[in-house]
């Protein structure tokens, strides 16, 4: 069930009416949201609802035991077991076949080729998101930042449908305190929610879909038959597509949650106006980058222990961040590129070298990020190398890019250079409108999107992670 579809619209209407009809009982509304979330998740595959429930029970039980444990040593042992259990789920579904394939290659290289038991496992949608959520919850209870939550709350935390399949990674510390009280709506939340939902629809259904179908997918499918200009514009196009696709999902998730009275954290902040890779990661997929910082980078030692250790920790964090996206070498290279450049930035800063002019720094950062996207988007390492090789061919004829596609690329970049609080300013005006007028405006905006959207809706890019 994809957000920009009528199926989801009808599902949302039903859940919205039911949840607010029982709003006097916080427990009932949470139960309804939980059942609704399972229906939403079950629309992909009912079997994985059981996995979601099992994962929630493991984290609920683990947190209870950690909370009740008498000694720090016992707590440490319990949190370790809990994290391993979460990683076990993620590892089995996401990485089992990958590691076995690599083992097969190694054995073949040593002349000991074997038929290994590959399972062709179907990846449960959103597994990377809900396992990271579960781990951060356990670690926060261990660190004394959170109390152990009720089974209902932890299950809803992990299952809540707006963030379930593609984030943001909403931590227990963000959402559990909200679950303890009956949420209240206010016009600010609703006005901003409507804006985020409509804006997300536009970015996904119009910009991302048009660029994907008519430029990016055909060029990445076979880079060898396209000119250097086509490849260059497809790389820029993908930079815009992935931003519009993923930020659209986050915007809609934040907006939908707000209509139930819950506040989700910001996940994007005009990432392509970043003036360094470190700045980029404070603006892109913020819930993942802050998760990696708080639970991995700091856990590895952070910036303690000297420059060499700090560089090692940055590199490891980014490599594992890349691997989180999927079991492919191209994701590791993508993570390695981001880590390597951040290491250079750190050494540059520590050496006291002067910074680049801001505009030049933004342009260089954007092109490094776009280079990374080529590896991220390519199906294989060879495909990425063929793409880069094609860029160097020097054939600058245009075989793909129409005026509309060029406009959408420019528009996607222009989003990054609007005033940072533009959406807030608009929402502040919208909240004063009479409800029927705002309803009419929302409908007109949806019709406008519908006239422009590409036929059919492709899944969000981050569903695969």
């Amino acid at each position: 069930m994809l957000f920009p579809t009528l199926d989801f619209g009808l599902f949302f209407l039903l859940v919205f009416v039911l949840v607010w009809a029982v709003s006097r009982s916080n427990e009932w509304r949470k139960l309804l949201l939980l059942v609704g979330s399972w229906v939403f998740y079950g629309a992909w595959d009912w079997r994985f609802v059981a996995l979601l429930i099992a994962s929630a029970i493991i984290n609920w039980g683990g947190a209870r035991l950690i909370y009740a444990a008498q000694t720090r040593g016992t707590q440490k042992a319990l949190v370790t077991v809990g994290v391993i259990a979460n990683l076990g789920i993620l590892g089995f579904f996401k990485y089992y076949d990958f590691f076995l394939e690599q083992l097969g290659v190694l054995l073949a290289g040593w002349g000991m080729a074997r038929d290994l038991p590959l399972l062709q496992i179907v990846l449960p949608v959103g597994v990377s998101f809900f396992t990271f959520q579960g781990m951060s919850y356990l670690i926060d209870v261990y660190r004394g930042r959170l109390r152990a939550a009720s089974l209902l709350d932890i299950t809803l935390l992990m299952s809540f449908f707006p963030h379930l399949v593609a984030g943001p990674i909403v931590r227990g510390a963000d959402l559990l305190p909200q679950f303890e009280k009956t949420p209240r709506l206010n016009r600010d939340m609703v006005a901003m929610a409507m804006l985020l939902i409509v804006w997300g629809l536009f970015k996904k259904a119009v910009v991302a879909s048009e660029l994907s179908v008519n430029l990016v997918d055909p060029v990445f499918f076979d880079p060898s038959v396209h000119s250097s200009l086509d490849l260059l514009l497809a790389a820029y196009g993908y930079a815009v597509q992935i931003y519009c696709d993923f930020s659209a999902y986050s915007d809609m998730a934040i907006g939908i949650a707000a209509l139930f009275g819950y506040r989700f954290p910001r996940n994007f902040n005009q990432p392509y106006r970043a003036s360094s890779l470190q700045d980029f990661w404070r603006r892109w997929h913020i819930s993942l980058s802050s998760w990696l910082r708080d639970y991995l980078y700091i856990g590895l030692g952070g910036n303690k222990g000297g420059l060499a250790m700090q560089c090692r920790n940055i590199m490891l964090t980014m490599l594992l961040g890349g691997f989180w996206h999927g079991a492919k070498w191209t994701f590791l290279i993508w993570g390695g590129l981001h880590g390597g450049v951040q290491v250079i930035e750190t050494c540059w800063r520590k050496a006291g070298l002067p910074g680049l002019p801001k505009l030049l720094a933004i342009i260089i950062t954007f092109h490094i990020v776009t280079l990374g996207w080529i590896f991220f988007r390519a199906d294989t390492f060879d495909g990425a190398i063929a793409f880069l090789g094609g860029l160097g061919r020097g054939d600058w004829s245009n075989g793909m890019t129409t005026p509309l596609l060029a406009t959408l690329i420019l528009l996607g970049m222009a989003f990054h250079f609007t005033p940072p609080n533009l959406a807030q300013s608009i929402a502040l005006r919208l909240r004063r409108l009479p409800a029927p007028l705002l309803g009419l405006l929302v409908a007109v905006a949806i019709i406008l999107v519908d006239t422009m959207r590409y036929e059919g809706v492709a899944p969000f890019i981050y569903y695969q992670f």
Binding site: F16, L185, I254, S289, I298, T401, P403, P436
Partner: protein, 109 residues
């Protein structure tokens, strides 16, 4: 990546930096927005409803629903309520068909 860990602070885009409007029933306000939007879409975007029903697996009830949705769409077309949407869609299709030169000939994608 090189920042110290801080207590996690929730900064949500739905928190506006202004005094909230008090004294009105926000759930009713929200419900009215959603109801009006849904009704306008039902009338002015009837073609999308019909297309959605047609995409469902064929059953006896789906066939009846498809017929009803098509009838609804035809009635809205006859009244002219769907005309603005159709006109805008034509403009968009023209924009899609526009070319700088001889790139991406029609039918090659």
């Amino acid at each position: 990546m090189a920042r110290e860990m801080k207590e996690h602070e929730l900064a949500s885009p739905v928190d506006l930096s202004a005094t909230p409007i008090e004294g009105e029933h926000p759930v009713l306000w929200t419900g009215t927005i959603i109801a009006v939007a849904a009704l306008v879409l039902l009338f002015a975007n009837a073609g999308t409803l019909s297309a959605w029903v047609d995409e469902k697996p064929v059953t006896e009830s789906q066939l009846k629903a498809s017929e009803a949705a098509r009838g609804w769409k035809d009635r809205m077309n006859a009244i002219g309520l769907t005309a603005p949407r159709d006109a805008l869609h034509r403009i968009w299709k023209d924009a899609q068909a526009t070319r700088f030169g001889d790139e991406a000939p029609e039918g090659t994608r």
